[in-house]
């Protein structure tokens, strides 16, 4: 052991004082994540508020951690939740199990399921970490209407899917 070694040690400590700090002061200082961070899921909506989820369970199928439970249901004339015949009647994600891999997002055929950047998923109650459809559904934006309701955009189904977003945007402009 050399005579100057203790000094060297202090030197390291001292020099660090002039470096950039990596510690984050969470939660006072809440930093945004990377843009494509795998955070909490969201069930998206069509521009008129109908749900995109068709209850096909492909996300549940893809999930390596068996964190997702879905049960489909029939849309009827009086109660339509999504365009088409089928909707997700029951949708649950268990965040105690979810490993954030995002395979479910890739599996989703309707782009209903996406991930947000929200990561504050901790709780002291296991039950509260099972998110249901109500928790996961995207908020209603202006121009959207809480389902059940009929398909509001376009003349027919084709029109709804292909031109729906455009039509909604136009409708929004007119309203403003």
């Amino acid at each position: 052991m050399g005579v100057f070694d203790p000094l060297k040690g202090f030197g390291v400590t001292f020099s660090t004082m002039f470096k950039k700090v990596v510690t984050e002061q969470y939660p006072e200082d809440y930093r945004p994540t990377a843009a494509r961070y795998h955070g909490r899921h969201q069930l998206n909506r069509h521009p008129d508020g109908l749900e995109k989820c068709v209850g096909c369970e492909l996300c549940a199928w893809a999930c390596p951690a068996d964190a997702i439970f879905v049960e489909g249901g029939d849309n009827t004339e009086d109660a339509r939740f999504s365009p088409g015949e089928r909707y997700g009647a029951d949708y649950q994600i268990n965040y105690l199990r979810c490993i954030g891999c995002g395979l479910c997002i890739e599996a989703c055929p309707t782009r209903s399921l996406t991930m947000t950047n929200f990561y504050e998923l901790a709780d002291d109650d296991r039950q509260r970490l099972i998110f249901t459809k109500e928790d996961l559904l995207a908020p209603l934006l202006p121009g959207m209407e809480q389902p059940p309701h009929a398909m509001r955009l376009g003349e027919n189904e084709q029109d709804y899917y292909v031109n729906g977003p455009e039509l909604a945007r136009k409708a929004g402009e007119v309203a403003q």
């Binding site: 209850g55 492909l58 549940a60 199928w61 489909g72 015949e85 089928r86 309707t110």
Partner: protein, 824 residues
């Protein structure tokens, strides 16, 4: 494939066989075999859609193309292997060895997919779809078709339970062939031509089939889906458990698919000896009764103060039940046991043993329907103990019989799989089917049968007539052919002298007689000894040797079993109503199924102490002192004996629900009464029953010998009532199934034109059928009934004959046209 036959080892070609080569493998096949099947036997799978082993070949989809060489010369084009039969020296190359076949198959697949929508994510078939699988295995990776697909409006209901999505259809015609060939109900047809070709509902004929669910199962794409199962789950989250249908005495193999403790659907299981690959719609769709909201889950005891039933602990309920039963047994004249006809063999055995050991009585009967002493004799003499092993009649024998006579038995309504076999046999032209009944019901037509008409109650006289009457000589002669069969149904018990006549006819012609009850548990309960005159294994109560065997096996003192046959259901109820019986132990019995529901209800009210073992509230639980909940068939294991006497064993589908089978409840109840049944589990009950083995006693029961009464008449102003159950009716095991109920046959009153005229009834208008108890009003429909007879369904819609009229088959009723009301 590494085990190619050695070149030197020449294959021997037996008589009636040919030798051919498939993918370089030499194979011997029976003449007439289809190429696709021969290949299958070699383990070579040729893709296919329309081919189905139980349907006639159609060659509709062209997916099974292979290259064929005959006599050294290749055929000009690839051939459909599902329609081509094997021939000597044929050389076949499938997609595995022939690029031509492979390309042809890929081409067909591409064509099929041109108009097939890409909605697999929302299609019920997704995940178990032959089209999906084969497109992946034999299709092209991408499509060259970029134009707009042909679309049809999304599903059209073919019936309340089958939906058709024409876009998805690949026109394989499996469904149309099933309905015309197997079921005989051409409810679904091919319509239009070319690109517009589609499946549709047969025009102008109301959709009507008891077997429509099978089309859903055999559709190789998701074009036919079940309204009840629609979107409920995907194949990968289902657990499949083999099971046995609990509805009728056919005992079909089923597959129960469940998810998270709930049954999602039932499919036909495969059993070539029994149901082949089909089941009826009742077996397929009626299962939600077990999850009805009113299902009994906790024991209940009648509160002494309020007189109301209140939930209790098992300990309390069993103690109260045991005390009450013991008291009724010792002080109030005894306890009668009504077990009901829907028990597994194991549960039935527990009822019989409980009656004999804990209640020390022979007053036990499983027959929750009209019955007779003659029936008891018939069952004891000719039915109990018969099985396929002991040479009893089987499904297969029906298929090869030269003639089958159905007596007081409506196969399509009472045992639909028997009907399918009869139709199959008759369709091949081998079997002549005769129906001794009242009118040309759909089953008569669809089995290409001959109706031997008689008035209700006149069946015995008609059978006696068969011997002498020249008009029916044909039937008599056909039945004399070796291997002929006579099938007797449950309503024979309502016709005095009929069982005796059937046995006489069987003796005269050499035909075998078989009994086909309607309920799944009746045959098992018979063999388990749940009758006043029979102990387990067909041992007669009056037979000392047989009794001694049972006493020994059950560890009873010698002479503990009574030698006196007990009371049957009616006598038990009569005695209870008269205050002679102190108590009743009632299994799954609906009083409204009994010959006299009023008497039954009075008896249950009068009986000092009533214990009811039930699944859901009923007229019995309402009046019971203790109600003990029991498990439905999905939540227990056990076995049924089907009408053949074949054991149909099944395991527990939903485990750990806490529901107890009857045998377990009775075992514990017996322990409370200081008796041991050793039926804690179905397996234990089974072992206990098997320990008894076959009897060493040589005494045979005497067959009934009631002389045939003359055909009855109804007098001047009455008519005779003919009636039987329809398959889909008001039965409580069909509760909670609106989709199924929608396919029930509309209840109508059938009568001949002459009778209608005599009573001033107009076809298509309402007619009222009445007894002094009450009346039933239905639409009149003309049919070829004998004059002076009216037919009504026994328990369909408003036509609840036992409840409203207190009448059954052969009763005299009055008939009057209903004055037309304002808007009805």
């Amino acid at each position: 494939m590494t085990v190619a036959p050695e070149k030197s080892a020449e294959l021997v070609v037996p008589e009636g066989h040919v030798k051919l080569t498939i993918d370089g493998l030499e194979v011997v096949a029976p003449k007439g075999e289809l190429l696709i099947r021969t290949a299958e036997r070699l383990g070579i799978v040729i893709p296919r859609f329309c081919d189905h082993p139980l349907l006639d070949p159609a060659g509709a989809c062209r997916q099974c193309l292979v290259e064929v060489e005959m006599g050294g010369r290749p055929m000009p084009k690839p051939q459909a292997s599902c329609t081509m039969t094997v021939a000597e020296g044929m050389v076949v190359k499938t997609q595995h060895t022939s690029p031509v076949a492979d390309k042809a198959q890929q081409g067909v697949m591409e064509l099929l997919l041109i108009n097939h929508p890409l909605d697999c994510p929302i299609c019920d078939k997704g995940g178990e779809c032959p089209l999906q699988n084969q497109a992946l295995a034999h299709g092209r990776a991408d499509s060259r078709f970029h134009e707009t697909k042909r679309t049809f409006p999304k599903p059209i209901p073919i019936s309340t339970q089958v939906l058709l999505d024409r876009e998805r259809c690949v026109l394989c015609q499996r469904c149309t062939r099933f309905s015309s060939q197997i079921a005989g109900d051409p409810f679904i047809e091919l319509l239009e031509r070319g690109a517009q070709q589609q499946i549709g509902i047969a025009q102008e004929k109301p959709f009507q089939s008891y077997f429509s669910g099978n089309t859903i199962q055999i559709c190789p794409v998701g074009a036919l889906t079940s309204a009840a199962y629609r979107f409920r789950s995907r194949p990968f989250d289902l657990v499949s458990t083999p099971s046995v249908c609990e509805h009728c005495s056919s005992g079909c193999a089923e597959r129960t698919d469940w998810r998270r403790g709930k049954v999602m659907r039932k499919l036909a299981g495969e059993d070539p000896e029994v149901n082949e690959e089909w089941i009826c719609d009742k077996g397929r769709f009626a299962f939600r009764y077990a999850t009805a909201a009113d299902r009994l889950l906790r024991p209940m005891v009648r509160d002494a103060d309020s007189g109301q039933l209140r939930e209790s602990s098992w300990t309390e309920a069993l103690r109260v039940a045991a005390e009450g039963l013991a008291k009724a047994r010792d002080e109030a004249g005894g306890v009668g046991v009504l077990a009901g006809g829907r028990l597994t063999v194991e549960d039935a055995y527990a009822y019989g043993k409980f009656a004999r050991v804990a209640l020390r009585t022979n007053d036990v009967d499983f027959r929750a329907r009209p019955h007779s002493a003659e029936e008891l004799e018939f069952l004891a003499a000719s039915v109990v103990g018969t099985s396929p092993e002991s040479g009893g009649v089987t499904f297969r024998q029906l298929e090869s019989a030269p003639a089958v006579l159905c007596v007081a038995f409506e196969p399509e309504e009472e045992a639909p799989i028997v009907f399918l076999r009869l139709r199959k046999a008759a369709r091949k032209g081998r079997t002549k089917v005769f129906h001794l009944g009242q009118w040309t019901s759909p089953a008569v037509d669809k089995t290409f049968g001959t109706l031997l008409p008689c008035v209700p109650g006149g069946e015995p006289a008609a059978i006696e007539g068969l011997f002498f009457n020249s008009g029916t000589a044909e039937a008599f002669e056909a039945l004399s052919g070796s291997g002929s069969v006579i099938l007797v149904g449950e309503r024979a018990a309502e016709v005095p002298g009929l069982f005796s006549s059937v046995l006489r006819l069987a003796e005269r012609t050499g035909a075998k007689a078989a009994w086909i009850p309607r309920r799944a548990g009746e045959r098992g309960a018979l063999d388990a000894g749940v009758l006043p005159n029979l102990l387990p294994g067909g041992r007669q109560v009056t037979d000392g040797t047989a009794r001694a065997e049972v006493e020994q096996a059950w560890g009873l003192a010698a002479g503990a079993l009574s030698a006196e046959p007990g009371r049957d259901t009616d006598a038990i109820l009569g005695a209870a109503a008269a205050g002679e019986l102190g108590g009743l132990l009632v299994g799954g019995v609906d009083p409204y199924d009994l010959a006299d529901p009023e008497l039954a209800l009075r008896a249950i009210e009068r009986a000092g102490f009533v214990v009811s073992l039930e699944l859901r509230p009923s007229a019995v639980t309402e009046r019971a002192d203790v109600v003990l909940p029991i498990a439905p068939s999905t939540e227990k294991s056990g076995s049924y004996l089907n009408w053949e006497g074949r054991r149909r064993e099944f395991g527990t589908t939903l485990d750990g629900t806490g529901a107890l089978p009857d045998c377990r409840v009775l075992d514990t109840l017996a322990v409370e009464m200081d008796a041991d049944l050793f039926t804690q589990t179905p397996a234990a009950a089974r072992a206990n029953l098997e320990r008894l083995g076959a009897t060493a006693s040589t005494r045979r029961a005497e067959p009934p010998a009631v002389p045939a009464p003359p055909a009855p008449g109804a007098g001047e102003d009455g008519v005779l009532l003919a009636t039987w159950h329809q398959l889909i009716d008001n039965g409580s095991l069909q509760d909670e199934e609106p989709n199924l109920a929608g396919t029930a046959r509309t209840p109508v009153a059938r009568l001949s034109a002459a009778t209608a005229e005599q009573f001033g009834v107009v076809a298509g208008e309402q007619v009222t059928v009445a007894t002094e108890r009450g009346s039933v009003t239905l639409t009149a429909e003309p049919a070829d009934l004998p004059d002076g007879v009216v037919w009504l369904p026994l328990n369909s819609g408003v036509s609840r004959l036992r409840r409203e009229l207190g009448a059954g088959h052969g009763a005299t009723v009055s008939l009057r046209p209903q004055a037309r009301g304002g808007n009805s």
